[in-house]
Every structure is written in structure tokens, then in C-alpha cells.
């Protein structure tokens, strides 16, 4: 039996990869990170409710060295390792234990699968860390990282290259997911949506970053589709940058303009006469964040927790070379500025802009 094991199967991207596999008539084992049987049962039930009742679910604690002990390696032909902590403010220990050691554990399982044809690691464009300039679809050697999440995704790539070179792996580096698909619907809020919410609410006093920096974005369905195509396709031992090619990436200034223009359609936003926040230098933004942290409060959590760990990237002129993802999906990337406009409309329509509850720091 040729079965695809998808880890992080009830995560935002993991669940879409499972759905894409099912749509492709593949036999899937949905592996769910859970700390105990009750949590596993609960999360399995929720995933089955979402994707179909006969989905086979398994699970374990990714922190446990025997996390995959319930998986029979004989029937596994492919693994998509999507399980990860995706918070930008993750601490070093958790990033190491969950993301790096988790990747090692998944790769070790892959080693035990005699019929394994492919190991797809769902990486991140942020593995490029503080690199600037062209980011090729190849190994990375960053000088540093803006946060532990970035480091952990780079380190996970290193694990595959150095410790599991013989595995048929492919690294799929996902950029920041702006929306589920071209409709602008959004099933999970991340730093982009948090920033939009702060902007709408008039709480974003400045924007850290260089206006002309290109912002690399992707839709969740593009990532999921690329992951499925990789299961038996090309690019063994290669890297795929899952983001819009640089020529299609809007600048930070364009994104801010589109968002402000989109919000102007909302009478309440117009009434409050929210000013467009000015771009500020990195040192000035850090001063502001430090001040917010000292004073505390919900704004401090929102800005310091979500935007601050991401902010250094907004000063770096990265040009992702992304030739392979369109080859895999057979689709052109959507116009990201137009997609952002649709996203803003959706967020306004669903009330997501007005909700100040919950801090999201997801990559």
C-alpha cells in the first residue's frame, strides 16, 4: 500500500496538504501533534469533521523521541513533514525541540520506511534569515536570524542535508501565507493579518521597514498543491522557494497603500480619520517596542509579540528566485496587491479587523 504520512496534519498548511492528497485520491495517514490520547482524540475528531470521516489519524508528542512509534513504516511511500511551531516569538529551546528535533525524528522515521519515495519538508522562506539579495533555490548560509523560528527552519534544512543526505528529500520553503487562495479568504491569522488589524484599529503608530522592500507572499493552496506535486515529481535533494517570484512581489509601500485604500471603503474607518502610519527606521521601531514592553498592556502584546519579531525582515531586500513552484503547480501567481485588497474586504466583512482578542505570532 502506498500511503502518504502528513505530520502537522491538523495545522493550517498541513490540513490543506491532507485535503489536496485526498483530492488526488491518495491514501493518507494524518499525523497530529498531541500531548495525550484525549487531545489526540479531540483533534482527530475535529480534522475528520473537516476533511472526511474515514480519514486515518495517528499522533503523538513531537517532543517525544518515540513520537512516530505507532506508525508502521512498511506502508509509507511518502512523508510530508509539516509539523512545526510557527510562532515568530518561539523561544530557542522550543524551536530546537519541536522544529529541529521534530524534523530529525520525522527523517529517522523516513529512514525506516523501505518503500519511501519522497520526504517533503515543509520549510520556510524565513530560513534565509538575515540574508539579502538573491535567494536561490539551494542551500542557504545566512549570517544571522531575526528570531528563533527562522533559525529552526534553517537548522532543519541543515539536518536533512547533513544527516539524511541519502533520503529522497525536497525542501519546500513557504513564504508568508497571505490567504487561503485567490479569493482572499483566510483560515488562519498570521503576522500579515495582525498588522492589518492594528492598522484598521488605528493602533499601528509606525510601520517598521523600508518602503521599497519587496514582500514575499504566497497562498496556502499554492503551497499545498506544490507539496502534493512533489510526492513523486522532480527535485529530489533540491529546494523549492514557494513564494511569488520577485518580479511579482509587491513592495511594502504598495501593500500599505492597498490596505489603507481598501479600509477607506469602510465608513467607520473613514469616520475615525486614521492616518497612514509613517515608515520608521529599525532603531526607532526597537525604541518604540521597548517602551511598549515596559508599559505593558494589550497593544504591547500585539506589537511586541507579533510584529516586532518579524520587523527585521522588512528592512531586508530579499529577491527570492522562485522558478520551481510554478512548474509544479502549473499556475501563475496571483496579483498579490489585488489579493491583499480582497483579503482586506474579507476581513472587513467578517469582522476580523475589529477583533482585538488573541495575539497571533504565526509565520
Amino acid at each position: 500500500m502506498n500511503r502518504v504520512l502528513v505530520t502537522g496534519a491538523d495545522g493550517y498548511l498541513g490540513s490543506r496538504i491532507v485535503a489536496s492528497c485526498l483530492a488526488d485520491h491518495r491514501d493518507v495517514i494524518a499525523w497530529i501533534h498531541a500531548r495525550n490520547p484525549v487531545e489526540l482524540e479531540h483533534r482527530s475528531h475535529a480534522l475528520k469533521e473537516c476533511l472526511g470521516g474515514d480519514l486515518e489519524c495517528a499522533g503523538g508528542d513531537l517532543l517525544d523521541p518515540d513520537a512516530f512509534s505507532t506508525i508502521d513504516p512498511l506502508g509509507i511511500s511518502a512523508i510530508v513533514h509539516a509539523a512545526a511551531v510557527t510562532r515568530f516569538d518561539v523561544d530557542r529551546r522550543a524551536a530546537r525541540r519541536v522544529n529541529v528535533a521534530g524534523t530529525s525524528a520525522a527523517a529517522a522515521l523516513a529512514q525506516r520506511c523501505p518503500r519511501l519515495e519522497r520526504f517533503v519538508f515543509l520549510g520556510s522562506a524565513f530560513a534565509a534569515g538575515l540574508l539579502e539579495g538573491s535567494i536561490e533555490e539551494g542551500p542557504l548560509a545566512p549570517d544571522g536570524f531575526a528570531n528563533n523560528y527562522e533559525w529552526s527552519k534553517w537548522k532543519s534544512e541543515q539536518v536533512l542535508q547533513e544527516d539524511h543526505a541519502e533520503l529522497p528529500w525536497t525542501v519546500l520553503r513557504a513564504a508568508t501565507v497571505i490567504a487561503d487562495d485567490e479569493s482572499g479568504a483566510c483560515g488562519q491569522l498570521n503576522v500579515v493579518h495582525d498588522t492589518l488589524r492594528l492598522l484598521y484599529q488605528g493602533l499601528l503608530s509606525v510601520i517598521p521597514g523600508e518602503p521599497s522592500v519587496p514582500v514575499c507572499l504566497v497562498t496556502a493552496d499554492m503551497v499545498a498543491q506544490a507539496a502534493v506535486r512533489l510526492l513523486e515529481g522532480p527535485f529530489v535533494g533540491r529546494f523549492v522557494n514557494a513564494c511569488a517570484p520577485v518580479e511579482s512581489c509587491p513592495t511594502l509601500d504598495t501593500l500599505l497603500t492597498v490596505a489603507m485604500d481598501s479600509f477607506q471603503a469602510c465608513p467607520e474607518f473613514r469616520r475615525r480619520r486614521i492616518q497612514r502610519p509613517p515608515f520608521c527606521r529599525r532603531d526607532a521601531f526597537e525604541l518604540l517596542v521597548q517602551g511598549l514592553r515596559r508599559h505593558g498592556g494589550s497593544l504591547s502584546e500585539q506589537v511586541a509579540g507579533s510584529l516586532a519579531p518579524f520587523a527585521p525582515q522588512l528592512f531586508l531586500r530579499k529577491q527570492f528566485i522562485a522558478r520551481r513552484v510554478s512548474m509544479l503547480t502549473g499556475r501563475a501567481f496571483p496579483d498579490m496587491a489585488a489579493l491583499l485588497s480582497r483579503l482586506c474586504e474579507r476581513m472587513l466583512a467578517t469582522g476580523a479587523c475589529g477583533n482585538r482578542a488573541g495575539v497571533r505570532t504565526i509565520a
Binding site: 488605528g202 493602533l203 509606525v206 480619520r273 502610519p277 526607532a284 508599559h295 497593544l299
Partner: protein, 318 residues
């Protein structure tokens, strides 16, 4: 061609009680952690004893100018806190039911005390920007009505008993300031005034105020500069309200203005004295022998309402 209008004769008065930041924290007068306020540059503040009123502060500041009432054509009296705009006797009103007891206007009292014969203008609902509003109104009166050549501007506020002495991350002092706007040459020539009100943010929280602070301050300053036909590079000093020191570091970064040319000299000593900060800091700068003749100064202020004002000045003399 528009005539020149000047401003000078600066004075101020502070609440009669002084206490350290730590003491204010222990008395529960802060909303933020003491360390955060200290990092912002605040060390102590002044507040009024129970018997002292905002009017007492106004009188003290006005008297410090040693003016002859006959030399003053009008009085503009600005307040931030609404109840400082009246010396009303609530007990008397409760007894009499006569609203006259609610209209014991401090401007009228001050006019009488200072022997000023010209009319008075009460100015409120501009919060901490009230003094700059007074300067603007005085300038406009002098430019538009010949009977006005020399106008006394006063601002005075004390927080009510039981009030927290932190607003929008700033340690507050009770205080008053006074100055004279005139058509005769004085310390500074007024180059331009600009005022923005965004009534939709009248109930803005501290976080919402912060959210709009940088963009709106920059926009107000830019609009004032445009009116004066100047750019930020033409400005030698910014004499702002006493607000968190790092806020001005961020603003300087946004404006492209050197932080060392921002006069926050009195921040640690007096904190944010409601509408009097510009006058207090300007007085301090003058005591340092600055600005030099011909140098240009910006006085920006932000206040609830929300109100944003900026006045551009040029130091008189050759």
C-alpha cells in the same frame, strides 16, 4: 502683506507640592510601572495642595510677568480640564439653585485682579494644546482687529482630587503658563500656526492615542512648516510638550531632525504640565541664551479631543 505678530514675556507657575516619581507610584498615581516612567525621563512632578486652585496658578504665572493691566488689550484664558474653566461654588449652587454660582469665570477674576480693561476670551476643549490655541487666537485678533495690539495668554490647570497623575504614558504636573502676544517686537515672531482636530477620536484610549501620535504629529508639523514656507531643515529647535523621551527619539527619526535639538530640558523635573510645557521649555531655552537671533523654533503639542497644534516661531533680533 501680513503684519508680523510676536510673542514674549514668558512665565509659569507649578503646583505647590513636589514629589518624586517613586512617591507618586506608591500613592497609586501612575498607571504604568514606575520603571517604565523613569525610563521615559520622568523623575518628579508638582501638584496642588487641596486649597490651591488652577486659578491660583494662573494668577501666579500672570503676576510673574509684572505687566501693567493698562498695557493689555485682551486676555485669553485657556484650560484643559473643564472644571478649571470655572471657579464655581457647588455648595452655593446647591443652596441657591442659581446658575450664576456656576459661572464664576476665572478669566473674569484674573482680568479684574490684573486691572485689564479689555475683553476676555475663555478657551477650552483643546486639552493640552490650549496655550497654542491661545497664541493662534491672539495672533488672529491682532491681525484682524485694530483694537488689539497686546494680548495676555494664560493657561492653567490642576487635576482634581483623586485623579491619576499619568495620562497617555506621561507623568503630569499641575501648572500654569503665561505670555504676551503683541504687534510690538518681542522674543519671537510668530511664523505660522496649525491646528488639527479629529473629533472621531475624542474617546481615544491611551493606546489609540499612541497609535495616531506619530503620524498625526508629523502631519501637523509638516502642515505648519508648509504654512510658514519652511522645511524641517530650516528649523533649529523643537520645543515640545514634555512627553516620553523615546517618543521624541522616534519622532526625530521620522522627521529627520536631530534629537539633541529637541528641548526637553524640564521633562525630568516637571513632567507634562498639561498645556504649559512649551512655555516652560522655551523659558529654559531662553535662560540658556538660546535660540540665537534668527533661529526658528517649532512648538508642537498633542491633546485629547483629539487636538494637534503646532506653532512656528523665529527668534527676534539680528
Amino acid at each position: 502683506m501680513t503684519r508680523d505678530v510676536f510673542v514674549g514675556d514668558f512665565a509659569y507657575a507649578l503646583g505647590d507640592q513636589r514629589e518624586s516619581l517613586g512617591s507618586a507610584a506608591r500613592r497609586g498615581l501612575l498607571a504604568s510601572p514606575e520603571d517604565a516612567m523613569k525610563h521615559g525621563g520622568f523623575e518628579q512632578h508638582y501638584y496642588c495642595s487641596s486649597a490651591a486652585s488652577a486659578y491660583d496658578l494662573a494668577l501666579q504665572a500672570a503676576r510673574a510677568l509684572r505687566l501693567r493691566g493698562s498695557d493689555i488689550d485682551a486676555l485669553i484664558y485657556a484650560t484643559c480640564i473643564p472644571e478649571n474653566g470655572s471657579r464655581c461654588d457647588r455648595k452655593a449652587f446647591a443652596s441657591s439653585g442659581d446658575v450664576r454660582d456656576l459661572m464664576q469665570f476665572p478669566a473674569s477674576h484674573l482680568q479684574a485682579e490684573m486691572n485689564i480693561s479689555g475683553p476676555v476670551f475663555g478657551l477650552d476643549q483643546q486639552a493640552c494644546t490650549g496655550m497654542l490655541g491661545a497664541l493662534r487666537l491672539a495672533r488672529s485678533l491682532i491681525l484682524s482687529e485694530p483694537e488689539f495690539t497686546r494680548i495676555l495668554c494664560v493657561t492653567a490647570d490642576r487635576f482634581p482630587e483623586g485623579a491619576r497623575y499619568e495620562q497617555a504614558y506621561n507623568l503630569i504636573s499641575d501648572g500654569a503658563a503665561a505670555c504676551v502676544v503683541s504687534e510690538q517686537p518681542a522674543d519671537f515672531r510668530i511664523l505660522a500656526c496649525h491646528h488639527v482636530t479629529n473629533g472621531a477620536q475624542v474617546s481615544a484610549s491611551d493606546e489609540e492615542t499612541l497609535g495616531s501620535y506619530f503620524a498625526q504629529t508629523c502631519a501637523t508639523i509638516q502642515a505648519c512648516l508648509n504654512k510658514a514656507g519652511l522645511g524641517i531643515d530650516d528649523i533649529d529647535w523643537i520645543v515640545p510638550q514634555n512627553t516620553h523621551r523615546d517618543a521624541w527619539r522616534v519622532l526625530c527619526s521620522l522627521l529627520g531632525f536631530p534629537f539633541e535639538k529637541v528641548c526637553l530640558d524640564t521633562l525630568s523635573e516637571v513632567g507634562h504640565v498639561i498645556s504649559a510645557d512649551n512655555v516652560i521649555n522655551l523659558t529654559c531655552l531662553l535662560e540658556r541664551g538660546l535660540p540665537e537671533p534668527g533661529q526658528r523654533v517649532l512648538l508642537p503639542m498633542a491633546g485629547y479631543g483629539s487636538n494637534w497644534q503646532c506653532v512656528a516661531l523665529a527668534r527676534s533680533g539680528s
